[in-house]
């Protein structure tokens, strides 16, 4: 077998002269890869174009008020995106606040502290989490998580904070049903953890061991090594990982639709139902006609814009850290 492959190697090395077919293949290959890249661009441009085209009537009808108004009344054809925008940002923010520390904890544990025999099972489990379809998270969230959350979190917390300033509003559930903005944020956190954790783990793995070893060598504790040696090294790339998670949290549709409660009302309490841009589109697109359809398209445009802005901010942050 080895002899055969060696012989093949030799024969192929002996014939370097047949250039022309190689060149043409190269050209074909180049064209093929170029067109693959172009397809992505064309599809993206097409999507943006058709979203803007579809949303234009709504933007024209309501102007800037489309973003600031919180009315969404299909019967009177009045549409405003404010409630959905706030819901989208709030639920994504909750997801980051819960998800990022846990993800970083996982990544640090796996790369620095984990005994080798445990490493594989833990990383496989996390990767499996990423493979769970979002509808499963939604159903699990609604049927399993929400009742438990109502019983063990919403009811006790509400009875503790009732009447307190600030907390009495933010964490008070008038109707402890288990679904709401906070529930959506928690489900989203579970969904983005595998992404942030596994990318952060890969990044931490790439740090040369000599750096860590020398830090330990001068007597640093594990915390000091992580805090002052490893994290500064990977800062930029971890921001990238977090932004990827944020992107998923902003656009997640099915899971959120199941557990957010789908109410078009702004409420100061995180336990109250709300809605996100994606959940509203998922709910209403089926039966939308006329201006309602345009308004949903316009919502899509806004989601595009929000996600795009997040990406740009991420890039700017990364660039700034690199400059230093």
């Amino acid at each position: 077998m080895v002899a055969l492959s060696q012989k093949l190697l030799v024969t192929s090395m002996e014939k370097p002269s047949r250039r022309s077919p190689q060149l043409s293949f190269d050209q074909v290959f180049r064209l093929a890869s170029l067109s693959s890249a172009l397809i992505v661009l064309i599809v993206l441009a097409g999507i943006i174009g058709s979203m803007i085209y579809g949303g234009l009537p709504a933007f024209r009808e309501f102007g800037f008020g489309f973003i600031t108004s919180s009315v969404w009344d299909v019967q009177r054809d009045q549409y405003g995106a404010w409630v959905a925008i706030v819901g989208t940002l709030t639920s994504a923010l909750i997801a980051l606040v819960i998800g990022v520390p846990i993800s970083l904890g996982i990544a640090i544990f796996l790369t620095q502290l984990c005994p080798p025999w445990l490493k594989r099972p833990v990383s496989t489990t996390i990767e499996l989490l990423a493979a769970v379809p979002s509808i499963i998270y939604g159903m699990w969230g609604l049927f399993v998580f929400a009742p438990l959350f109502a019983q063990f979190v919403q009811i006790p917390v509400s009875s503790i904070v009732e009447g307190l300033p600030v907390f009495g509003t933010i964490l008070y559930a008038r109707t402890p049903s288990g679904v709401g903005v906070l529930t959506a944020g928690i489900i989203l956190a579970i969904m983005i953890i595998p992404f942030i954790a596994s990318i952060s783990r890969d990044i931490l793995d790439q740090i040369p061991p000599v750096l860590r070893e020398s830090a330990y060598g001068i007597g640093c504790t594990t915390w000091e090594v992580v805090r002052h040696v490893l994290l500064p090294q990977v800062g930029v790339s971890v921001i990238g990982a977090i932004m990827l998670g944020l992107g998923r949290a902003l656009g997640e549709t099915m899971a959120v639709t199941f557990v957010i409660g789908n109410a078009n009302r702004l409420s100061p309490s995180l336990f109250d139902p709300g809605s996100t841009i994606a959940s509203r589109i998922a709910n209403e697109f089926n039966e939308a006609i006329g201006l309602q359809l345009n308004a949903l398209m316009a919502l899509g445009c806004i989601l595009f814009l929000v996600t795009f802005t997040v990406l740009v901010i991420a890039r700017v942050l990364v660039a700034r850290v690199k400059m230093r």
């Binding site: 019967q75 009177r76 639709t257 789908n262 109410a263 039966e287």
Partner: protein
């Protein structure tokens, strides 16, 4: 040997494909509410005639869009189109089967089927005007019941749906406040409560949230044994949702009063009539571009009128009364013609 058997199998597959092509394939799209019964009928029809029905349950407005664009042989919608809209697009509309919407509740101390409500009280609950279960208006209807001193959580369909359309039609008929407030439609602006996606989302919330009330299709509530309320009908009688009371609502209705049978069966008179009953409709073109396809579709619906009642009952839908079926057949003969002006439905 292996190759030969593969080839034989391939040949068979090709042959069966070409056989399938020779049988008619009817395409339709629209309402999700009647999808289970259409699928059941299609399966039985396919066994009997080898004709296929390809029905996509994409939602009523999707069905209307598709039949307008002529991409399907028939469209299906829960909320009837108005006469002007039918006229504009040259469409014929007819009902095929009925169903009911029921109010489901989760209140401890009131056994299943014992809660009595009037339409007005139901509207006030979903409007937020009645916010506690021990409100005097509810207590008056349920004397002797141990109604809790707890806030009511109304649960609604968050997705646009024919069920919501039927439910809000009823609320607007019985309550001025609802008519001038949230109004009627596949999705309305709910002043209070929580939204669940689909029947299953509403049912899950109602079952999980104590002191909640929601609305789902009757079939869904019955098959999942979710407690539903009695309602007071137009004649002032309290009735429970069941096949008998749905039929009573259909029997007392004046089907000829609206073009395309586009009447609402909500709030019908009759001592036994369930007040939130609704037919679901089919749309076809008056002068279709593919007359032979529409003729096949009409044959299918005629077959369901003849042999589909039992299957409908098994799935908790309600068949149309016999005289309504005859009216529908007559309208096919009168209105749906091929290019030479001959009626497509021959019988």
């Amino acid at each position: 040997m292996k190759i030969v058997s593969y080839a034989a199998a391939l040949g068979l597959a090709v042959a069966s494909c070409s056989l399938a092509v020779s049988a008619a394939e009817i395409t339709g799209a629209g309402a999700t509410f009647p999808f289970p019964i259409y699928a059941r009928w299609a399966e039985a029809y396919n066994k009997e005639t080898s004709n296929r029905l390809n029905y996509q349950s994409i939602g009523s407005s999707g069905g209307i869009r598709q039949i307008r664009a002529k991409t399907v042989d028939f469209g299906a919608t829960d909320a009837p189109l108005k006469a002007a809209e039918l006229e504009k697009d040259g469409l014929v509309q007819f009902p095929v089967v009925m169903g009911g919407v029921v109010a489901v509740y989760n209140v401890q101390g009131v056994p299943a089927g014992q809660m009595k409500l009037t339409g007005e009280v139901l509207a006030d609950i979903f409007n937020g005007k009645i916010s506690k279960w021990n409100d005097a208006k509810i207590a008056q209807l349920n004397q002797g019941a141990a109604l809790p001193d707890a806030a009511i959580t109304p649960v609604y369909r968050s997705d646009g749906s024919g069920t919501t359309s039927v439910f809000t039609t009823y609320l607007a008929q019985v309550s001025e406040g609802w008519k001038s407030g949230p109004g009627v439609g596949a999705s309305v602006q709910w002043p209070v409560g929580q939204g669940g996606k689909g029947n299953e989302g509403v049912a899950a919330l109602v079952q999980q949230v104590p002191n909640s009330i929601g609305y789902v299709e009757y079939a869904y509530a019955k098959q999942n044994s979710i407690p539903f309320t009695q309602l007071q009908n137009k004649n002032g009688k309290f009735v429970s949702p069941e096949a008998k009371t749905f039929q009573a609502a259909a029997a007392s209705a004046d089907w000829k009063s609206a073009p395309g049978f586009g009447i609402s069966l909500t709030n019908q008179p009759g001592d036994e009539a369930w007040p939130i009953t609704a037919p679901t409709f089919i749309l076809v073109h008056k002068a279709p571009e593919k007359p032979e396809q529409v003729a096949e579709a009409l044959k299918f619906f005629d077959w369901t009128f003849e042999k589909g009642d039992q299957m409908a009952a098994e799935l908790d839908y309600v068949a149309l009364p016999a005289q309504v079926k005859d009216l529908v057949r007559a309208s096919w003969k009168a209105d749906i013609k091929d290019k030479s002006g001959q009626p497509l439905f021959k019988k």
